[in-house]
């Protein structure tokens, strides 16, 4: 039997029972569109998350206080909420002297209320040096960033996030020159940051107050250690070499001889990107796997309908065998019908998935003004087509075998 005859015959059968065909493929349509939507949104979310890490700056080495005990799956103690005081000014000074280091910027972070008049908001405040703005790509769109002189002189000046500016001062108002209270300390607003979204550490960077690190440490937090330190590697040095240098310097500074006992954790921006990429990939696949359960349900629906179809068309099977069809011809015919059902279901699922992903992109970018990319990965489409066809074969083979095994006499006698 020619392939063209198989396709023509299957098309005629499916067309004859249009409503049944549509309802039968519904499970596959839902399954494939779910997989497409989750994989597409997963890819967009991955892009978004990675762009946030890339937005930290370039060529960065991130130092977090506390070791990981060299365990593969453990995080630094500070990341688990434990206060670790191992990173101090002498480390920053030592790192700054190394030729592989272009810049060092440190942070001492705290939380508290920021208020202006009757308006108040719980925020994260960050004590940072003046070079923080350039190293970490924080652009001041209104006003100016504070300077080294402000930091040295313990000036009470602040640069605030764009959302906080709206919350405290109202939309369209100019906060520059106004005085705000942060944790009961008065600051003069000298700049407002450009909209930046949520940062790599989960901090809403538009609801942030940046103040001189000297003020934050001495007058607000009463500490002499840093929450994290970021090193911008000299671009003429390999980043991994710079990372090794940073580790060496800190171990010397902290008198550590066994690298397994480091009281700090170093990651390059590339390490973080790779880790986050892996995590988001796994999450996307996990979600897609859950969505593919509906494909199994859809496949069972197809098998059910195909079994009914085999019974209904028993006489047709008898006739076809009486005019020369072999068991293989009958098996192929029913198998092609089920694969065609799932294949068409897959195509419709891809179209619906694309439509939903497009609508989600419109809502997220236009409605919530989040820089979300439209991702419709070719891998998801290929996977959907392959999975839907395999589903057709897997769930169509049993009914097709039942049809092929029918004795022509029994089939012709069937009423």
């Amino acid at each position: 039997m020619r392939v063209s005859d198989l396709i023509k015959s299957s098309r005629a059968t499916l067309k004859h029972g249009k409503m049944r065909s549509l309802l039968t493929m519904l499970g596959i349509v839902i399954g494939i569109s779910s997989v497409i939507i989750l994989m597409s949104i997963g890819a967009s979310a991955q892009d978004y998350i990675l762009s946030q890490v890339q937005g930290l700056g370039s060529n960065l080495i991130i130092i977090i206080p506390g070791g990981t005990n060299n365990g593969k799956f453990s995080s630094p103690a500070s990341a688990q909420g434990i206060i670790v005081t191992s990173l101090k000014q002498q480390d920053v000074d030592a790192l700054g002297r190394d030729p592989s280091v272009a810049a060092v910027t440190e942070e001492s972070r705290g939380q508290g209320a920021a208020s202006f008049g009757d308006n108040s908001e719980t925020i994260t405040f960050d004590g940072v040096p003046a070079n923080f703005f350039t190293v970490r790509n924080f652009v001041v769109q209104n006003g100016y960033p504070f300077t080294d002189a402000d930091v040295s002189a313990y000036n009470h000046v602040a640069v605030i996030g764009s959302s906080l500016a709206t919350t405290l001062f109202g939309a369209g108002s100019d906060p520059v020159g106004q005085f705000i209270q942060v944790k009961n300390v008065q600051f003069r607003v000298v700049g407002v940051l450009e909209k930046k979204g949520t940062g790599a550490f989960g901090i809403d960077q538009d609801n942030l107050v940046l103040v001189p690190i000297t003020v934050a440490q001495k007058q607000m937090l009463g500490v002499d250690y840093f929450t994290d330190v970021m090193v911008q590697a000299n671009s003429s040095y390999n980043i991994d070499f710079a990372k090794a240098r940073v580790q060496n310097i800190l171990e010397q500074d902290h008198s550590i001889t066994d690298p397994n006992k480091d009281d700090f954790t170093i990651e390059t921006q590339q390490d973080v990107l790779s880790l986050l990429g892996n995590i988001t990939n796994i999450l996307t696949l996990f979600l897609a796997a859950i969505a593919s359960i509906s494909l199994v349900v859809g496949g069972i629906g197809i098998m059910n309908i195909m079994l009914v179809s085999v019974i209904e068309r028993t006489k047709e099977i008898g006739l076809r065998k009486s005019v020369g069809a072999t068991n293989k011809d009958i098996l192929q015919q029913f198998l092609v019908e089920s694969v065609m059902l799932t294949f068409i279901g897959g195509i419709i699922g891809i179209a619906i998935g694309g439509l939903v992903v497009g609508l989600a992109w419109l809502v997220i970018t236009k409605g919530f003004a989040v820089p979300w990319t439209f991702e419709f990965p070719m891998s998801a489409i290929l996977l959907a087509v392959a999975v839907s066809s395999i589903t057709g074969i897997a769930f169509g083979i049993y009914p097709a075998q039942q049809a092929a095994r029918k004795s022509p006499i029994e089939a012709l006698r069937y009423e």
């Binding site: 005859d5 008898g318 065998k321 009486s322 005019v323 012709l412």
Partner: protein, 236 residues
């Protein structure tokens, strides 16, 4: 052409053996028109099923065009059914969701005839039963007589050696029945072997010879001295 010798068929149901054929022997030559008659349960359907390769005997031998059927595989039997046999059933067995053209095309699909060559073969077969104007009509819209003529066109399309007609007039009125017998008679007069299963004596007498079965054995095998040849309007 067809030679059966001591042909037997036993059915075993829950250990109980029922003999449908108890040793049947006869020969049918190319171009013969043979009617097989007999009451219900006489074994005529079983005999025709074996003769048309839809079933196998449990004893004796069957030779078709010099080939021993017992030696052939199921695939080879399917191939012979496709190339050498044409079936006409009492209940037409047309696929009503398909057009006349598509129904007549079915045997050609399994004989791997090139789609481009099929059209001419289908048109000729449908022309031979006098229904050219119905070529693209859905078979569901045809009358009983027209359906049976289309079933004959389907049986003819592969130019088979033998036509098996199982009660072909059983579901038809007398006018349509006469038309169908006209066609079968014409086919035989054009040189084709026709084997007709019927319980109607009038219909059986279109043949040159009648084999009567009773209880799985041949009761009589007699020539028809004055066959009721039709007006032969289709194949003359």
């Amino acid at each position: 052409m067809i030679e059966v010798n001591d042909l037997k068929k036993d059915y075993i149901d829950e250990g109980e053996v029922t003999s449908a054929l108890r040793g049947v022997s006869f020969t049918i030559h190319k171009g013969d028109f043979v009617s097989i008659m007999g009451p219900s349960g006489s074994g005529k359907s079983t005999l025709v099923q074996i003769l048309s390769f839809l079933d196998r005997s449990t004893g004796g031998s069957y030779t078709f065009n010099g080939k021993k059927i017992d030696d052939l595989s199921d695939v080879e039997l399917a191939h012979i059914r496709n190339k050498s046999i044409g079936f006409v059933f009492q209940s037409f067995n047309l696929l009503t969701r398909l057009s006349v053209y598509e129904n007549v095309e079915i045997p050609l699909i399994y004989s791997d005839v090139d789609p481009a060559a099929r059209k001419k073969m289908i048109e000729t077969a449908v022309h031979n039963v006098g229904l050219d104007e119905k070529l693209y009509v859905e078979t569901a819209k045809l009358s009983g007589g027209q359906k049976q003529r289309i079933a004959i066109a389907r049986a003819l399309v592969n130019d088979p050696d033998v036509i098996f007609a199982d009660e072909p007039t059983g579901n038809l009125d007398s006018v349509s029945g006469a038309q169908v017998m006209d066609i079968l008679d014409g086919l035989n007069q054009a040189g084709r072997t026709v084997i007709l299963v019927t319980h109607e004596t009038n219909t059986a007498e279109f043949a040159d010879r009648i084999i009567r079965l009773r209880d799985g054995a041949i009761e009589s095998d007699t020539p028809v001295h004055n066959p009721r040849h039709s007006k032969n309007q289709f194949f003359k």
